[in-house]
Amino acid sequence: MDLELTDEQRMLGETLAGLLEKKYDANARLALIESDLGWSRELWRQYAELGLLGLPFDEQYGGAGMGPGELAVVFEAFGRSLVLEPYLATVVLGGGLVAAAGSPEQKADLLPRVAAGELLLAFASTEARSRFSLTEIESTAVEDGAGWRVSGEKIAVLGGDSADTIVVSARTPSGAVGLFLVDGADVRRDPYRMQDGLRGADLLFDDTPAQALGVPDDGLAAIESVLDVATAALCAEAVGAMERALWLTVDYLKTRVQFGQPISVFQSLQHRAANMYVSLEQARSMALLARLALADDAVEQRRTMVRAAKLQVDLAARHVGQEAVQLHGGIGMTMEYPVGHYLKRLTVIGKTVADVDRLTELIGAAGGLVAPG
């Protein structure tokens, strides 16, 4: 089993890193956050040209047919640069759901446009009372002639501010969790900047016309499998972000002079930096497990491994993010200096899809990871 990257994957990572290093210095990123859109259309076009927007889709739908390894490479690079573009929302979540649940016609209609950078998607699932559950939802869908109508309020919809088409989960008349496509123009939006600078929205559906994505009653399985992929991607992104936060911290310790010497000579700080490295490497190992696990056909086993990965990564992210700010001292608290932005993104990742407590509960309920035999 090759645990290291292939040459192609390494090249993909280098190409993307080269692009991001040019476009994503700290000032440019701050300006993007303050802009109306909150991210860069120009970069979005360049992602499309690099084939990133169709990365996981089948070639017949304009995609590159690539797997979890390539996705991990992309997300690690995104994490290092704290990328703001709605890639997770559009490609992994929205596109992933269309690919997993959509009819051949829906895939042929939507995926090539996503891959070309012409269509933005978002996945609306979370509600005020659902917390991290996919099934504790109150939104409903009813049939209306050839189509459907969806009602309910969704919160914290990543990319929900700008999505052209929304994939929304709602309870069907049979009680199942179904997936529906809604035109962005038909939705009321309360758009905002999230705590980490990415954009999102709360969305209000009120008897809103909708189209079933594939077979409505089969929605849940598709959501769960797409969230496995998204979780593995978030793990990779967090590892990229933690890596950069640690190196920022290390550089700072070596250059900041107090009491007449660089503060890196103090052993209490050395050991705290070492502990950050331990957390980072353990997280890196689990991000690797997550992407390997995606190839596992045994669904329950795969899901437990992916969740375990995010649990480890989230714990590490909290540790590394908090310590990175602490070891910087006051400068780490400023909006101007990048390290605080890593803490913010890592914190939001920790509350995306599922958090530490939820993951702990789910893994425990599944019987854990260590089994006899």
């Binding site: 089993m1 050991h271 497990l289």
Partner: protein, 391 residues
């Protein structure tokens, strides 16, 4: 972590498991599974069976009984052995003195010692640490002064694990007191039955006798028992200590402890707080196992002796997780863990003791050692800090 292994590696692990569970006497494996220490006889019996099948020293050179295995295969060999509750070959023989002799010894020393070392005909002890040379090993003071065809050894070694079983001891001794700290050290093989050698037990907080002090008083050692060159011992010691990048992680130990906890925890497994702690332990163990596999995967691309700070991560977190697992078993036993008992026997009419009652707390106490030995965890943090801060 089956998903991280190739099909061939999984088949290899299966073959190892099959061998260990069918060829090593169940009586020995059952004893270990119950949390007991193997006897000297258990260890020797098991190592001889392994050696008869070329499975005692796979990481040695081919001509001395080794195998041309990949780093991952060697790892699986050790892990499956632990999971099958097979006593490992004597680590001082197979992982320490053997590779040093095979790499730096002359032909005569190799022929004299390697076959007996592989077959546990000699039980080796390790004479490195001294009362004033722990983490700062190079400050050791035991001297060996050349006198004709012999060295005369004086000094004291300590923390000598299982020296009560030992036949021979490999020692770091100072042969050139005028040289810089690391330069005047040699690697010497000493028969523990030599006149002037005294082994004294050290009782540990768990009540067990695992380590000893070894005193040398004018001990005469034939000069042909020097390994390699005089005053090059530090190089050999570094080779020895750097040999195993991954074994201190103790994945097999942690997993066995977790499985035992799950088997014994009963209704506690439905207790949210307990289950959360167990889950976190399992998850971090998986992370550690993946870290081990990552280190192994790139071993071929790193020249031997290259420091890899992830190895320090393995020692650091591995020891801590071994300790956490031992602590969790104590929590499973609760009040039943409190009595100090030599064995599980109870008088007629009393209920039998729950499994683990005898060993849970002694193991917990004993395992505090894991973050102290093999480079204390503070030393490991220093190694990592040095690697990332480059000072």
């Amino acid at each position: 972590m089956d998903v991280a292994l190739s099909k061939d590696d999984r088949a290899f692990a299966e073959r190892m498991r099959e061998f260990f569970t069918s060829e090593i006497p169940a009586e020995i494996r059952d004893r270990l599974a119950r949390g007991e220490h193997p006897t000297r006889e258990d260890v020797v019996t098991s190592q001889r069976i392994l050696n008869a099948h070329q499975l005692a020293v796979p990481h040695w050179p081919l001509e001395w009984g080794g195998q041309e295995w990949t780093p991952v295969q060697r790892h699986l060999w050790a892990e499956e052995m632990t999971r099958a509750h097979v006593p490992h070959p004597i680590v001082f023989n197979t992982a320490m003195v053997g590779p040093v002799i095979a790499t730096f010894g002359n032909q005569e020393v190799k022929e004299r010692f390697l076959p007996a070392t592989a077959n546990a005909d000699i039980w080796w002890s390790q004479g490195f640490s001294e009362p004033n040379a722990g983490s700062d090993l190079a400050s050791l003071k035991t001297t060996a002064v050349r006198d004709g065809d012999e060295y005369v050894v004086n000094g004291q070694k300590t923390w000598t694990t299982l020296a009560q079983y030992g036949d021979w001891i490999f020692c770091l001794v100072r042969t050139d007191p005028s040289a810089q700290k690391q330069r005047g050290i040699s690697f010497l093989l000493v028969d523990l039955r030599s006149p002037g050698v005294t082994v004294r037990p050290i009782q540990l907080i768990d009540g067990g006798h695992e380590v000893n002090e070894v005193f040398f008083e004018d001990v005469r050692v034939p000069a042909d028992q020097l390994v390699g060159e005089e005053n090059k011992g530090w190089t050999y010691a570094k080779f020895l200590l750097g040999n195993e990048r991954t074994s201190n992680a103790g994945i097999g130990i942690i997993k066995n402890r977790i499985l035992r906890i799950k088997r014994l925890a009963g209704p506690l497994l439905d207790d949210a707080l307990f289950r959360a702690r167990l889950t976190r332990l399992e998850v971090e163990t998986a992370a550690l196992e993946m870290s081990v596999l990552r280190v192994l995967a790139r071993e071929h691309s790193l020249p031997p002796g290259t420091p890899d700070p992830v190895s320090s991560v393995l020692k650091l977190r591995g020891s801590e997780l071994q300790q956490e697992a031992s602590e969790l078993l104590v929590d499973v036993l609760g009040p039943s863990a409190l009595a100090y008992r030599e064995d599980a026997a109870v008088p007629d009419g009393f209920a039998p003791l729950p499994e683990g009652a005898v060993d849970a707390l002694p193991t917990y106490f004993n395992w505090r050692k894991a973050s102290i030995y093999a480079g204390s965890n503070e030393v490991q943090r220093q190694i990592i800090a040095k690697a990332i801060l480059k000072f």
